[in-house]
């Protein structure tokens, strides 16, 4: 895995959205404990592997949620001199949240929560938390099936199990 660019199967190479430099994980497979580097390119990317191999730790590191890994993960920033790469530890927590979204495997979503509230949480990094802020926007309430016109819909009363995750995806603005 070391120093290999990871590319999705597309004809033209898309731009890099993430750059990892000399990252090594404290847990997981031996190959992940050695420093490795790669560019994450635009498009879907799946991380696969057996139990305990370090998939979750890798994704947490890429999202800047493991403190020691923040300096090893860089994201592009548009500036007057073109695109520059900036390490995640140089960003404030809200700045990082506006750049990278992360969703865990086992968010405990209560059935009594309003879909609008859950979606509004996803807009917290922009400090937009009211219903008016999130309804109608892309990734907002309108993107959750059956909830665009029902601001009082709760997760269990209005949504099928799959749709709850759609609301959670709204939470993470994907």
């Amino acid at each position: 895995m070391a120093n290999m660019p990871i590319r999705p199967r597309t004809k033209a190479a898309p731009p890099a959205l993430l750059r990892v430099k000399d990252l090594s994980l404290s847990r997981g497979a031996p190959s992940l404990r050695q420093p490795f580097s790669f560019d994450g390119l635009a498009g879907w990317l799946a991380v696969i592997g057996g139990n305990g191999i370090g998939k979750s730790t890798l994704l947490l590191s890429l999202a800047g949620l493991l403190g020691e890994a923040k300096s090893k993960v860089l994201i592009p920033q548009d500036g007057s001199k073109g695109v520059t790469w900036i390490a995640l530890d140089q960003l404030s927590a809200p700045q990082r949240a506006r750049s990278i979204a992360w969703m865990g495997q086992s968010e405990a979503l209560s059935g009594r929560w309003l879909v609008a509230d859950v979606v509004a949480l996803g807009h917290l990094p922009w400090r937009k938390t009211t219903l008016r802020d999130v309804s109608g926007q892309q990734g907002g309430l309108a993107s959750v099936p059956g909830c665009a016109d029902n601001k009082l819909a709760t997760l269990d009363s209005s949504l099928a199990p799959g749709q709850s995750w759609k609301a959670a995806l709204g939470l993470e603005r994907l």
């Binding site: 947490l60 403190g67 927590a93 992360w102 969703m103 865990g104 009594r112 929560w113 990094p125 709760t154």
Partner: protein, 321 residues
Amino acid sequence: MLGLCLICLVLALVSLSLGSGGSVLSLWDSAEQIQSLVIEVRLPRVLGCLLAGALLGLGGLLAQSLFRNPLADPYLLGTASGASLAVTLVYAAGLGALPWPWLAQVGTVFAAFCGACLALAFSLLLRGPGTSLAIDAHANLLLAGIVVALVLGALSDLLTHLRPELLRYRLAFALGQTSLIDWGAVWQMLVGFLLLFILARLHAHVLDALILGQYTAASLGFVIEKEQAKLVAMMAASTALVVAHTGLIAFVGLLAPHVVRPFIRGMHKPLILACALAGALLLSLADLLARTLWMPQEIPTGLLTAVIGGLFLLALLKRQP
């Protein structure tokens, strides 16, 4: 929410009119009677119970959301044991026998508050190094709280063993009393509650995010360590304020969020007010029962909240799938 407000109001009016000796005030009573009995004795007690219950309800919600544990209560982290030891020390030093009762009361309240805050500081120090994002960080803090509570409780026991005359003060504190609430206590708790309520509302989104998990909360742009420190301080302040004036009132903080959660749609913003109202309702009800069940003798309120709260919680757990 409106229903909770109305029940609280009705309960407060019943408490105001009903005395522990079985006396019932009516509109035909003289103004002097009302002045002396209601204004000076019953009103501060009724308001104090509402405020203490609201503070415990608020503290309970903060504890359960912060630790993501429905069985967490605001007395975690050793605050109650710290306050208890401080009060025992105050009486051991002879402050309780001072010729100026107001000074003794102020000293006791201040000591209880300091004891609760010191216990919290010990718990935070003992939890050990490490980032608070670690999965076991909360477990470390909870274990530290349990250790601090045990050690401080043992110190209180030792002090009482060496000075048996302290037993009655300690017992009164441990059983939880609402009969000693005066206007001074009401004002202190009112200011504290208003401040904590506003702060909790301002931090409602942090609680929402934390309940989804610490990594999710961090990914939403919160600096978790800072937010957790603020929430722990708010939880300790709410507990210390109540414990300092009433002693240990069990189960109200644990129970209040469970009572309202099934009826509230939405995340923490509506829950904060609902939990405060539920706490106020529970403690007021317990106080009323404590005064009237064995008239003219009064039962310690903390005993009743423990019995009623425990049974109620068991019933709730049984009803849930």
